[in-house]
Amino acid sequence: MLQCIFLLSDLGEVMLEKQLTGHWVDRSICSWFWDQSIAQGDSFKHLPVIASPTHYLFQVNREGVTFLACTQVEMPPLMAIEFLCRVADVLSEYLGGLNEDLIKDNFVIVYELLDEMIDNGFPLTTEPNILREMIAPPNIVSKVLSVVTGNTSNVSSTLPGATGSCVPWRKTDLKHSSNEVYVDLVEEMDATINRDGVLVKCEVFGEVQVNSHLSGLPDLTLSFANTSILNDVRFHPCVRLRPWESNQILSFVPPDGQFKLMSYRIKKLKSTPIYVKPQITSDSGTCRINLLVGIRNDPGKTIDDISVQFQLPPRVLSADLTSNYGTVNILSNKTCTWSIGRMPKDKTPSMTGTLMLETGVERLHVFPIFLVGFKIMGVALSGLKIEKLDFKNLPARPYKGFRALTRAGKYEVRS
């Protein structure tokens, strides 16, 4: 039961206000919120549930835009937060990004979307496929069309077909001239390596993303070679759960376009593709850093976009860092980034340098934590493998494409 949704810019300006129930929420609540968030800094900015003197507020921040929802009654907090996240997702898909100008230029569409997504505080439809049929996105095609045809409405004149169909995420009479479907495995590796170089925790969070352009009402089955490694899975509503429970097969009628078929988690992985070895010694007012990066377990594909980022500890006056490969950048907020890019074949990248400490500080007590980034195309590091993808109920054999990608998630090396 949300009462009101506000969209705030990164300066705290109310860009949009959508009252949902008869219980009007005064927009002064936004000034209260903004004053508080200025007064209390970052930790408040990220606190998702806040109690104001009059309302409970839920906030979600996306790219500088704050989505703020208000209520006065008890409700499941996750429902509100989840809904705001969906609103953010849908808006950024519609507008091709999220920022102040985009929202201000398209606020009519935003109002229209909110109108369909929530009524009287109850969330209705958040499925992007259905929304797209109700309200056309402001893309180039529709702009061109409107100029050509003279019909400037971006609201489709018919109701979405899916509202009447038994498969709510798909309309019945889809037609594509080229039938194709792409399945991507996208994995993020989270790892923590402690001071002694021991892998404390390593797990993979993965998603199966499908981009489907198929005619009619196709029925797909996707199976994996090694489902036993999956620790926990979550599915798009289109997946039938019985076949999964009995045979670990994903059987589904796909929505049209891009969607997230399944997400999974794989725990207790034993190794990481690269290693990062920091060596830090600190005495007599300086601190020497030596950082080595190399391949630990060759994944068989090139490792790209390698970077190491860390925050210089407080009480460091200056830093002089050089590397034998890639570039080192130090920002004014004391963030150091060493971008290595692709792993070289012939040498081991290393970065060395000296940190000068403030006068009077003999040695550093706190050493930085290194956040590592990388990307490997063509490999799902968890080892999950797609076995096959079958179709039923399709006139012609469609084109199938499979891809895989692993990147670093929260990958940190302590020193």
Binding site: Q36, A51, M79, D105, F107, V108, E127, R234
Partner: protein
């Protein structure tokens, strides 16, 4: 209400910046209104956009209302939508002008395009103007019968909107019955879900007024309906599923077969992509199996993986909400999660409130097998740059140490912290080492060796300093230079700002004296002299006490000051188990995020799921508490020493069973809520009438204090009705209506407090003075009472809220009265009754 910063920005193309444009807009709209030339719609659209963007940034454009309505005759759906939006925004404040819009909205409700019918109906219901409801009934009625699902969806919610504008109109048109019919028969699942939401709300609110609605509300939870909804479950959208799950969790299944059927049906929901559905399912499962211990256990096992996945997927916001729930479950059943401790490891760039929850969970799941690894991990955080985080981690290590039997390794770690030579780490560790020693005196040897090396000059925080001084006094015989360290501390007596430290210093030096008299004698003399001259009352009194004790008999003094101590075995919990259970019952709600049951932070009006209020300032989790919603409350609890002595623990345990259950028959938390108002009105005046009892004590001690006492309160002239009676509901109502007449603080005599082992004694005492108690509660040292009394001759009532702090012998009174003029007299009467407490 736009912030000033906005003026510095270059306005975006569609965003007008000034107010002068409004009259311009009005002119242009008027020109367009009658025009039928081609291209008018485009021009109108531009203008409408401008009007609405003015509205959005907070410029009042209600003056163009009639022009907007005139322009609304169009077939363009975007124009219509913008117009609906505009009308919805301003109709409430311009009810007369709103009448103008009825006509075109009603016409649109009959449009052949279902989309337009739906939109028009939605806008019509959103006007919320009371005198226009008669125009609503017709379109709503036909909307509910519309052939298109979209329109029916809108109409079913529209009924609810109508109900909020005018309940009687809604009931007279018999809409609830129509909704019920739709709910049971409609083929569109979204219509069913909307009807369900609307009916829950309408019948929930009607139930208090009519018997019939109450039974209808019951039927929502009847077996056939629940089964009907569950059978159609997969047709519902994810949000509707949440609503249905919420309803089902209130249903009480008749036998275990039913429970298993439901769980089998819904088990796959745990794998839903929408976290809200997953959490609602978890709540249902937990509720269903509450009475079946072993199944309940299995449910925990089953929900573990989905919850842990939810935490690590999704944005930080979702993650926090899930984490709060996970926290609750971990605290209830730590052993189930003990193998998954690695999930609670903190990530470097997580926000502090997330880390804090994780630390608490790590502390809870620690057991024999994983303690070593958890403590190793925590030690890495202790070296963290972030000082609050480092402190919390050290506290967590301490808590684990206090939980475990094998503390060997942990003590070593703690002692390593002391060697890190960081002030905040040292301070925090000292406090913990002190607590550890109170529980495990056998470790004193190792600890003291390290503590002895710490220079007291490096310890500045009062708590740490007090802990260090306590150890100096307690283990004076093991520390070579204890007397000399104490002596140097006493030399700096004047510079010591914290009374707590000075108190500890006094006690420590006396203890030290008993063990090493010759070395300490000088320091003792200096300390007592400084203490007796101290301006702080407690320090002064304690110094005087020690002085006289020592003068009277040194051996007795030793028995008083330094009796043999028992090791503390159990520690008081910060939250009572009753509260924890209550929060658990409110799983999947805000209570979990705040770690408080809802009655502690919600007003009664808001407790129901659908009650709103438009007044300002009635949520009791007020502005001031936002900054410390959860964490601060806990930190505070931590600061109050981890330890209570064993006897304290038993006492508070006993009282928590007896007293925290509120005694009032119809108690539903609103008293607690209304008392939150205390937070706001801090205007207590210290009472001018110091009860004579305190002077009696002073005399007892033979202190030649000048007797500047004001005379005891003059005998009251007010007569109270001995048989006054007041219903709890009436009390609540009155309490809310009446202003506070008198609010002050008064003292109770210590004998009375001593007699107050339970709130009952005071209640009986006050009853003897014709002041009756309607509700009481609290735990030592804080008790809270609500009293009432009536005048003997006339039915004028007095209401009192009385908070007694038995450790400071203070009572805070808040008096409300029907008859304001006699409230002062009543206050005196009340205080005189209170001051006699304990003598009878």
């Amino acid at each position: 209400m736009a912030p000033p910063a906005q003026t510095h920005r270059s306005p975006s193309p569609s965003q007008p910046s000034g107010k002068g444009e409004v009259s311009d807009l009005k002119m242009q709209l008027r020109q367009l209104a009658g025009s039928r030339a081609p291209g008018t719609d485009d021009a109108k659209r531009e203008l409408f956009k401008k009007v609405i963007s003015c509205m959005t940034i907070g410029i009042d454009v209600s003056s163009v209302f009639s022009e907007m309505v005139m322009c609304s005759a169009t077939s363009d759906i975007v124009l219509k939508k913008m117009c609906y939006l505009y009308v919805g925004n301003y109709a409430k404040h311009n009810p007369d002008l709103a009448l103008l819009t009825i006509n075109f909205l009603q016409r649109d409700c009959k449009d052949e395009d279902p989309m337009i019918r739906g939109l028009a109906l939605r806008s019509l219901c959103s006007l919320r103007v009371t005198n226009l409801v008669e125009y609503l009934v017709g379109p709503l009625g036909s909307g509910l019968k519309d052939s298109n699902g979209y329109v029916r969806t809108v109409a079913s919610i529209g009924v609810l909107k109508l109900y909020h504008i005018s309940a009687s109109t809604c009931m007279d048109a018999d809409f609830p019955a129509t909704l019920k019919h739709l709910m049971l028969n409609d083929r569109d699942a979204q219509v069913v879900a909307n009807c369900l939401c609307a009916l829950q709300e309408i019948w929930g609110l009607e139930a208090t007024k009519s018997e019939e609605a109450a039974t209808e509300r019951e039927t929502l939870l009847s077996k056939p309906l629940i089964y009907y909804l569950l059978n159609r479950f997969k047709e519902f959208s994810e949000w509707a599923q949440c609503a249905v799950l919420e309803l089902v969790s209130k249903y009480v299944p008749s036998d275990s077969d039913e429970i298993f059927d439901m769980m089998n049906l819904l088990e796959d929901r745990l794998q839903h992509a929408n976290g809200a559905v997953v959490l609602a399912t978890i709540k249902l499962f937990l509720q269903l199996t509450l009475s079946m211990a072993d199944i309940h256990q299995q449910v925990y096992e089953r929900i573990k993986a989905p919850l842990l996945t939810l935490v690590s997927s999704g944005g930080p916001e979702q993650s926090y909400a899930v984490l709060s729930h996970l926290h609750l479950l971990v605290m209830r059943a730590p052993y189930i999660f003990s193998a998954d401790y690695k999930h609670f490891y903190c990530q470097y760039n997580e926000p502090f409130y997330v880390k804090k929850l994780k630390l608490e969970m790590l502390t809870a799941v620690a057991n024999e097998s994983n303690t070593y690894e958890i403590v190793t991990e925590l030690c890495e955080y202790a070296a963290n740059v972030d000082i609050p985080m480092a402190r919390e981690s050290i506290r967590a290590v301490g808590k684990i140490a206090l939980q475990q039997y094998d503390v060997n390794a942990i003590v070593d770690r703690l002692l390593q912290f002391l060697e890190m030579e960081k002030d905040h780490v040292t301070a925090e560790t000292l406090v913990l080492v002190k607590d550890l020693l109170r529980k495990y005196p056998q470790w004193s040897h190792d600890c003291i060796a390290v503590v002895g090396n710490i220079s007291s000059k490096n310890v500045q925080e009062p708590k740490a300093k007090a802990a260090l001084i306590w150890m100096l006094g307690e283990y004076a015989q093991d520390m070579q230079d204890a007397p000399y360290v104490l002596e140097s501390l006493i030399e700096n007596w004047e510079e010591e700002n914290s009374a707590e430290v000075r108190l500890h210093l006094l006690t420590a030096v006396v203890k030290c004296f008993f063990r090493r008299p010759p070395e300490t004698q000088k320091a003792l003399g200096a300390a007592l002299a400084a203490g007796i001259n101290d301006f702080h009352q407690d320090v002064h009194d304690r110094a005087l006490l020690y002085y006289r004790l020592l003068q009277y008999n040194v051996f007795i003094a030793e028995r008083v000051v330094n009796p043999p101590k028992q090791a503390v075995s159990v520690f008081a919990d910060t939250q009572s188990s009753e509260i924890k259970d209550r929060i658990f019952d409110e799983f999947n709600s805000l209570s979990v995020v705040y770690q408080k049951p809802s009655y502690m932070f919600t007003d009664k009006e808001h407790r129901g799921p659908f009650a709103f209020s438009e007044e300002i300032g009635n949520l009791s989790v007020g502005a001031e508490s936002t900054d410390n919603v959860v964490p601060a409350q806990r930190i505070e609890a931590n600061d109050k020493d981890l330890l209570l002595s064993t006897s304290d623990k038993e006492e508070s345990k006993g009282s928590s069973h007896n007293d925290s259950a509120y005694n009032a028959p119809g108690y539903d938390g609103s008293l607690a809520a209304s008392s939150q108002a205390d937070l706001v009105s801090l205007d207590y005046k210290p009472t001018p009438n110091v009860p004579s009892a305190t002077f009696a004590i002073d005399d007892l001690l033979g202190l030649g204090l000048p007797a500047t006492a004001t005379p005891p309160p003059s005998p009251p002239v007010l007569k109270l009705n001995t048989k006054a009676a007041l219903e709890p509901n009436a009390f609540q109502q009155k309490w809310r209506q009446l202003p506070i007449a008198i609010s002050q603080e008064t003292s109770i005599n210590p004998q009375g407090v001593a007699a107050m082992t339970s709130p009952q004694t005071l209640i009986r005492h006050m009853q003897g003075h014709s002041i009756h108690c309607i509700a009481s509660g609290g735990q030592a040292p804080n008790f809270k009472f609500f009293f009432y009394a009536q005048k003997a001759e006339e039915p004028a009532t007095y209401l009192v809220e009385c908070i007694v702090n038995s450790s400071s012998c203070k009572a805070q009174l808040k008096i409300k009265a029907d008859d304001q003029s006699t409230s002062q007299a009543f206050s005196e009467l009340f205080q005189s009754a209170l001051s006699k407490f304990g003598f009878l």
